[in-house]
Symmetry: D2
């Protein structure tokens, strides 16, 4: 028997991507999907890729029925006010928003600029990146989402941190380039196509909220995320600059990157000497749950450049959420996430 799931907030980009995934997931059945702004419309009228795939309509979040698993895909700042209601609807919750990503209410206040509305719940959620918390997930009832930029940054640093290769006395600079789907379905003045097309727009030199997730998960403090919007719809590319410890060689790096690739089905190392695709690139990851990793080391000055490419709506949001679902339910980690991605695109 399939597990029943419902989604609160299904008309945004994250919710739509989640719907695409769970509608073809062999172990679940979608019960209800809510949307305030599109109440009563067919899901395929908002997400046109789902035409002929589902006859579901958006329903009202006040009319939700109990279900096995509840996904929260609302704008940030809402779940923390309703979590007590939601836990009555389902024994297991996966929240894609930023509300339960941080374990520490002080860190939340520092980066989000206000008090958390349900600080006692922060400790009950597992941070939803399987590559960092896989072992905890089968026992978890509540799993948070991940910030897409944080995920690209965290996975770029993962091989270096896991193998303890970094010189901690140097700061880490993470340059992140992002596509327009990060701005969400609502958009803003700057996302009007005539303004957003062709941009290389460094909209945040530092201070981006996702930085908090890198600080928390990588356990480093001197790290900055610099955000630049480029002309692409889906994709995040993180380029992390750091210094390795004295004596670390390219061979050591190969070993560290291969290790994380071997341990994680959705991590791949891309470092080719020929062809067009020698380094990680987000464009070929559209729709997939892969994170592609690459690196270069300047042994003369210990400068390491570590790269991570992901699809912000997949590995950076809904794909990781489904991966968490699989682990939480002790299903095959890759279920429903089989799409290989397209080339060319």
């Amino acid at each position: 028997m399939r597990a029943g799931i419902s989604i609160i907030g299904g008309s945004g980009y994250g919710g739509g991507e989640l719907l695409r995934l769970v509608l073809s997931h062999p172990c679940v059945e979608v019960k209800q999907v809510t949307s305030r702004s599109h109440l009563g419309e067919y899901v395929y009228q908002v997400h046109p890729n789902l035409r002929k795939r589902t006859q579901l309509k958006f329903s009202d979040s006040t009319a939700l029925e109990p279900v096995d698993i509840l996904f929260l895909a609302q704008p940030h700042g809402q779940a923390q006010h309703h979590i007590e209601e939601y836990v009555k609807l389902a024994p297991r919750i996966i929240d894609l928003s930023a509300d339960f990503r941080l374990r520490n209410s002080m860190l939340y206040k520092q980066w989000y600029g206000k008090e958390h509305a349900a600080p006692a719940w922060l400790g009950k959620f597992v941070y939803g990146l399987p590559e960092l918390h896989r072992a905890e997930m089968p026992m978890a009832n509540y799993i948070s989402g991940v910030g897409c930029n944080a995920t690209a940054g965290n996975l770029a640093l993962l091989p270096l941190m896991q193998a303890d290769l970094l010189d901690a006395s140097f700061p880490v600079f993470i340059e992140i380039k992002v596509g327009s789907s990060e701005s969400g379905a609502e958009g803003n003045a700057g996302s009007n196509h005539a303004e957003r097309a062709n941009v290389i727009r460094t909209f945040s030199a530092f201070g981006h909220r996702h930085t908090a997730e890198v600080i928390q998960e990588m356990k480093i403090s001197d790290v900055s995320l610099t955000m630049t919007a480029v002309d692409l719809v889906r994709g995040v590319m993180a380029t992390a600059h750091a210094r390795v410890s004295p004596g670390v060689t390219t061979k050591d790096l190969w070993k560290a990157y291969r290790a994380v690739s071997n341990e994680n089905p959705f991590l791949r190392v891309v470092r080719e000497q020929r062809g067009i695709y020698r380094v990680p690139e987000p464009k070929i990851l559209a729709g997939t749950n892969y994170a592609d990793l690459g690196f270069e080391l300047d042994e003369s000055n210990r400068h390491v450049v570590s790269m991570c490419a992901i699809d912000n709506l997949m590995k950076g949001a809904s794909g990781s959420a489904v991966q968490c679902l699989n682990l939480m339910m002790s299903w095959d980690e890759m279920l429903g996430l089989e799409f290989a991605g397209l080339h060319p695109i």
Copy 2:
């Protein structure tokens, strides 16, 4: 002494382009530029290309002072309600909006769906496409704007109509592809970059309002404009399908197209046998006032394909308006419109 000009509605794309042109026009001086939504801001904060080019700020349209020439660059439907006030401010007016393009109030009602608010003024305006009404302009006090899509369609048909080559018993289909700047600075849900990027979206199969301008200016009735949005910011490409009269040859067409090119400084014929740019293309026209024309004839069935590429904000709006200004003032027709365009782009 330079002629003083003011612009009502300077924060939109048409107004911004007009500003760029008149700020470097050798015979005019910009006095005031109004904007309701950006009142008090520097012009360059909205049009960042004008930084270090002007220290003008947007002013209030209720505080306009008399001036030699008044440009109207407001949204459609406003000028017709205020024309009596505007004529008191300036002896000469050039209106970029749709309000005074049609000569016939019935035609206006048919295509715009409501009564014109100042029908008596329709006959006082000259239609603002110099290639069609050059001779009238030196005597004109009031000149209308042009619809960008209508302009591409009209200029695609011009050589054929002028040389009387078409078989009038066949309908004319004009397929028009357009960039996103046509949606204006305000945008809409569909112009959010993540939705608008990569589109081939036939948003109007027929019934587009600009059709009325083709009917009026080309004096044909069985014509349709089919509008498709594609991924580009600036540009309109019209591909007109029609039938030539029996006996018309490719040589006749060459003669007709060369004639309009010779008679009009901003019309060019593009029909090359080699190289990458063998046909008209709007991308290389960004920022220029050129209209590039091309054609193909299938002599076996008399099917002619006539092409016209323009920059919708230039030849399709502000460029033609400045060209009208030059003619109205008996200045050199090309003044202020010298930019050659970029390659590559």
Copy 3:
């Protein structure tokens, strides 16, 4: 037991897409994939989306072993010279190239400009568009590919032809807009990004070879395909202009379009009154085998605009080929073609 397949010519875009599909097809096993230019390389070095999906390397076409089904994905003009060899390797062949699409060697000569090298084989192939030849496929041993532009045109016309709604005394104009992947992995001077980006380039006013497939399959003679390149990687959008017979109404069209949608799992009708996606659009079809159809009728002059959007590499090439495979083998028609497509993209 899985059926064994091999692919001749796997390094091009069509071959790569085919590989992606068959590698995750539950009933087949890929045996060999050949490439002359990438001999010995890993498949994923050319098609980076297949990293961690296969360890296959490109092999030599002279070293092919017998197999259940042979796919030909070579450049046009090669299969006709080697068909006698290929039939010795496999009892069933599906050819993606243009070599066996036309049934008539005269038509081939007319549109391809030379004699066909194996005219006797033309009659042995079934034209590979399941929506037109589904019934013949279970008995077929040899199935041709389809032209991507022809497919968009044929499917745009299918509802109108099947319900016999067109006035045959009028010509049919099909305006087709295409993405850059149509130019192939080799590219050309005009496909260099700096030249190809932002284009609206009508590279063929008429005379495109795919016209022959529309003439053959729709059984009409007065039809033209006008080809325009736009800025997109994957996608074909056909907009067909025709006249319906006297008395035909929008209601008749709804009936005709719904019928083809009901009869064909990969055809969908898109004609919404609200939302962003009211008409067919190729961008949301990237990677899917769907063809989305739409229409508008001007009852005043019987002008019908019929639209069809597809992914040129899928429904227009490799997707249809796998659909043919499924039908040929009497498997579920949708096997391996389940990907729903992405939104946004």
Copy 4:
């Protein structure tokens, strides 16, 4: 009387842009333009923006006649082999290639991997960035070109270096994002549109040759340029990460950036609190000679992010070359470089 100029190598992107500029420059007359690959063709067949602007044809470089000023716009590595011939043709030479940018033949060998063919000439050229060498130019006979990426990097650092604000004990990381026109008109496999569209491709983590020009001109050694290709035709965006000296404040930075803006007509500071364009962006600079600068300082850790946006073909190549021409000839520095740029684009 106008000064006569000729251009060797006019069919590339740099040569084409130079042609556009000098054809409308009031003080020069273009005498000859050479091209090997397009010999005998009209210039406008290669650079379609120049149609109706010039009837020049590409001529043979062996048939060059003496001229006042010779521009070299050949591929790198050629001018150094022919410099002795060229100086016989003209008393003044401006070379856009990389051949005479470095003053030190050791530095050349280190970064270009081979001996310079005319090391004695290195000392005779002035480095062609007016913002660094304006005073030397009126006396110069030979001026080099600039690397586009080096220029973006050098100008990003200029305010900080000029005001001596940097902590030299920290390395400088310059992240550079570039458009496809950097790959040149010839292109390569990776610049085929279907591969190059939508990319975020970090093609060089460090080791890019333009680094040598930053080392030489900024007199710093621990600097790296990390190059990422993004989806744009024209434009370079440099984001430099460094540390300021203890005690340096945002106010100090404002002063330093305003100073370089006041001293240099083509430098502008972009640091707005409202609107869409708050930071430098290359897209609005297409066709202009401006370099837009911006900065952010994290006073908590002295991390400064300095940004510079340019058009790689203008300020990064041909625009700076014309600016050098103006200074060399003691003409107004901005002659022929008046284009303001487009918005939107």
